[in-house]
């Protein structure tokens, strides 16, 4: 990727990551659509021999030979038995029955996580710079589990099994499958054993935002990653005949529009279809579109396809209008014709102009790439949101990372739009999604694993979470682009990832397999359910113990208050217990607690003890947090943040309160 290394401060981590050795022995496994191994991002210059313990393989198949792997890309396998059993044989005229990526998604995610450095990367001149993965010296292994018709759980389980057996240290899965209990969710099941074997599993949170309760991959042994923006934009302004200008974004690169404004029409008015406003294939009337700019509404079909539909009808350009569903979120696309996307407010003003002027005109001015855009990051509208519908007592997502307009490696099989009619071929593409934020965190986890080989997956996740930030440098809270207002921990979890600080977190909230089993007991899972999830068919929750999620050593707090019916003055007290492990210098940490105004302010938070003294590395100290709240209407929510600091390190945990 370009820009994200600087945005994340990776240039400041050089002194924190051991200069030689360790990171190069960390292997990131990416379960996705495969890989295009000829891309420069998989160049192995400067890499030593493949780690001695590596058991992976480079599997041969359609358009893919064992020679495709090297000292960077050390493994490539494909899994299609489940897919073929359900969907029939892989259509080899359309996709390769091999690890080769004919889609682009897998090449993008794998190069984001651990791609080699590539100078002068860009998409058609946009986002130019030196591209690199987050863990630039880590090794990569790809496991193709997604095919044209989807990703099937029998294949995903098989791939996770092989990835763990092969010797991967981090697994990256930018996919999801709705919401189900952990013992029914193959990714959660596979991730449990991976965690048990010391493998960190990072998954995308989903793109079902900004609605609440839309998260995927919420098991507590998974790192769940939402998406935020970078400080980079690709402005393309709409200039109307009334001399008003509106900001949009575009990655169009081609013949520019004429200098003089063009006639401007609304797709809904130049169509013979009831949903003509969406610019669906075959819905525009060419005689009414030819040579004109067309305003299309976002939704239903792909954004880039709308541009193609306009072009096929003879249109000169397209303005893609967000609706309420997308708000002000602008996602840049490498359209096939001059086009730009505008936010809902701009779209509304543009529509008003079109209705008021009998002969509306417009043009688009493309302005290339701009950086240092503020505020950034902001939470992407599409990023799935909490609360966690499976276990409300575990706050999810865990954190956010860059996932909007991310440049990374691309397949040679399709163009940057992914449309079959797009003849262009590019080495890099710019796309958006929590699929893009997940491999950022996977790569950063590999970076931490390289710097701290003895840390458990839970310790690495804790370091990433407790050092994440939730305010801008000026002190204002991270914004949500869906509302334009400050976001909450239900949107960003612990906050935005901050790798330099994550490498030196001071304290971590560690967890063992036994802790996770206790967690399952706290959920009242049956012995059969625990056995399915953990492979422990002889494990039974003790009848002598009281299990509680509030005692689960998670790096964040989610407190559910139950309001006593019929009483407006009743207070409820909930107590959580946590244990922190010192992974930094000896010292004394002091606690501070902030609760948000509004409903969060109704909660009294007491931490005991308020100071923790560490005399050795590895020392553990426990503390108790008592949350007391008065009665609130059901559905109320509040937030806060608990921080331990020794003056140098800040170990922060978000708090979320709900009332039912």
């Amino acid at each position: 990727t370009t820009r994200t290394p600087e945005f994340l401060g990776l240039d400041k981590t050089e002194g924190l990551v051991p200069a030689s050795g360790t990171e190069t022995d960390v292997v990131v496994g990416v379960l996705d659509t495969g890989v295009w191994p000829e891309r420069s991002s998989f160049n192995d210059a400067g890499f030593g021999p493949v780690p001695a313990g590596w058991k992976g393989a480079c599997e041969q198949g359609t358009n893919f030979s064992t020679a495709a792997c090297n000292r960077k890309l050390i493994g490539a396998r494909f899994f299609c038995k489940g897919y073929e059993a359900s969907m029939g044989p892989v259509d080899e005229t359309k996709e390769s029955r091999s690890p080769r990526d004919d889609d682009g998604h897998g090449t993008h995610t794998s190069s984001t996580a651990a791609g080699s450095a590539v100078p002068s990367a860009s998409l058609l001149g946009y986002a130019a710079g030196n591209a690199r993965g987050m863990a630039v010296r880590a090794r990569l292994a790809v496991y193709k589990v997604c095919w044209g018709g989807g990703c099937f759980s029998s294949d995903i389980l098989a791939a996770m099994e092989r990835a763990v057996d092969d010797g991967c240290h981090v697994l990256s899965l930018s996919l999801g499958g709705g919401m189900s209990d952990y013992y029914r969710d193959s990714v959660a099941i596979g991730a449990f054993t991976a965690m048990e074997k010391g493998v960190l599993v990072s998954c995308s949170a989903g793109n079902a935002g900004p609605s609440s309760n839309t998260l995927s991959n919420v098991a507590p042994w998974i790192t769940t990653v939402g998406a935020g923006t970078l400080d980079r934009d690709f402005p393309a302004y709409v200039s109307l005949g009334n001399r008003k200008n509106y900001s949009g974004v575009s990655l169009y690169s081609g013949k520019p529009l004429p200098d003089s404004p063009l006639p401007f029409v609304y797709a809904g008015n130049v169509s013979n279809s009831t949903n003509g406003n969406l610019c669906m294939p075959g819905t525009l009337i060419p005689s009414l579109v030819a040579g004109k700019l067309v305003l299309c509404d976002r939704g239903i079909n792909a954004r880039v396809q709308k541009g193609y539909v306009v072009r096929e009808a003879g249109g000169a350009g397209m303005i893609l209008a967000n609706t309420a569903a997308n708000g002000e979120e602008l996602v840049a696309d490498a359209h096939l014709l001059p086009a730009t996307g505008v936010g809902e407010k701009a779209a509304s003003s543009i529509r008003s102009y079109m209705q008021s002027d009998p002969n509306p005109t417009a043009t688009i001015v493309f302005s290339g790439t701009k950086v240092n855009i503020q505020p950034s990051p902001v939470v992407a509208a599409f990023s799935s949101r909490g609360p966690n519908s499976i276990t409300p007592e575990i706050l999810k997502p865990d954190l956010i990372a860059p996932g909007v307009n991310i440049l990374a490696g691309w397949t040679g099989a399709v163009g940057p739009t992914g449309l079959t009619v797009d003849p262009r071929r590019v080495e890099f593409n710019i796309i958006s999604g929590t699929s893009m934020s997940c491999p950022h965190v996977s790569g950063l986890a590999a970076l931490l694993k390289g710097a701290h080989p003895d840390w458990s997956p839970a310790a690495i996740k804790s370091a990433l979470m407790t050092t994440a930030y939730d305010v801008y440098s000026g002190g204002d809270g991270i914004l949500d682009i869906a509302t334009g207002k400050p976001a909450s921990p239900f949107d960003y979890g612990a906050g935005h990832v901050d790798p330099p600080r994550a490498l030196d977190p001071g304290l971590v909230y560690d967890l063992t397999v036994e802790d996770y089993l206790d967690f399952l007991c706290a959920l009242n899972y049956t012995a059969l359910q625990i056995a399915s999830l953990s492979k422990r068919s002889d494990f039974k929750c003790s009848g002598e113990r009281t299990y509680a999620v509030s005692g689960f050593n998670y790096p964040s707090f989610s407190v559910a208050f139950t309001t006593a019916s019929g009483s407006s003055t009743a207070t409820t007290t909930v107590t959580h217990v946590r244990t922190v492990t010192n992974v930094g210098p000896v010292g004394t940490y002091k606690v501070s607690v902030m609760t948000s105004e509004g409903d969060g302010g109704a909660v009294k938070v007491v931490v005991d003890p308020s100071e923790l003294d560490f005399k050795t590395v590895g020392e553990k100290r426990s503390y108790k947090v008592t949350f007391t709240a008065g009665s609130m209407p059901s559905g109320s929510v509040g937030f806060g943040r608990l921080e331990w600091t020794d003056g140098k390190h800040v170990v922060a945990s978000p708090m979320a309160f709900t009332w039912t």
Binding site: D32, T33, K81, G82, A85, S86, H105, C146, G150, C151, F152, S153, S154, I156, L157, A158, M160, E161, V164, D165, S174, L175, G176, G177, G178, S180, Y183, R184, D185, S186, V187, I189, G190, F192, T193, A194, K197, S204, A205, G206, N207, S216, G433, T434, S435, C438, L528, Q529, A531, S532, K535, S537, D538
Partner: protein, 82 residues
């Protein structure tokens, strides 16, 4: 409808494998063939779960659930890229 085969993931209690079997894969195969001679096994798993995936009719899946050593028979789910 009861004849249409779908993929299921079958979780097994490996510790309950009868002594007559040496390899757990053989036990899985025997469990599968005990309920159907035509059921097709896709993968066997030993690291992330103990069990296998197979194409089964709903009736076969139900029968397999009753087989000794079977912990769960879960229908396959489709995941999507994010």
């Amino acid at each position: 409808t009861n004849m249409i085969k779908k993929t299921y993931i079958i979780h097994m209690a490996k510790s309950q494998m009868p002594n007559t079997f040496v390899e757990h894969q053989h036990w899985y195969e025997a469990s599968l063939t005990s309920i159907s001679s035509s059921a097709e096994m896709l993968y066997t798993y030993d690291t992330v779960i103990h069990g296998f995936s197979a194409r089964l009719s709903p009736a076969e899946a139900k029968a397999l659930e009753e087989t000794p050593g079977v912990l769960a028979v879960l229908p396959e789910t489709r995941y999507e890229l994010h």
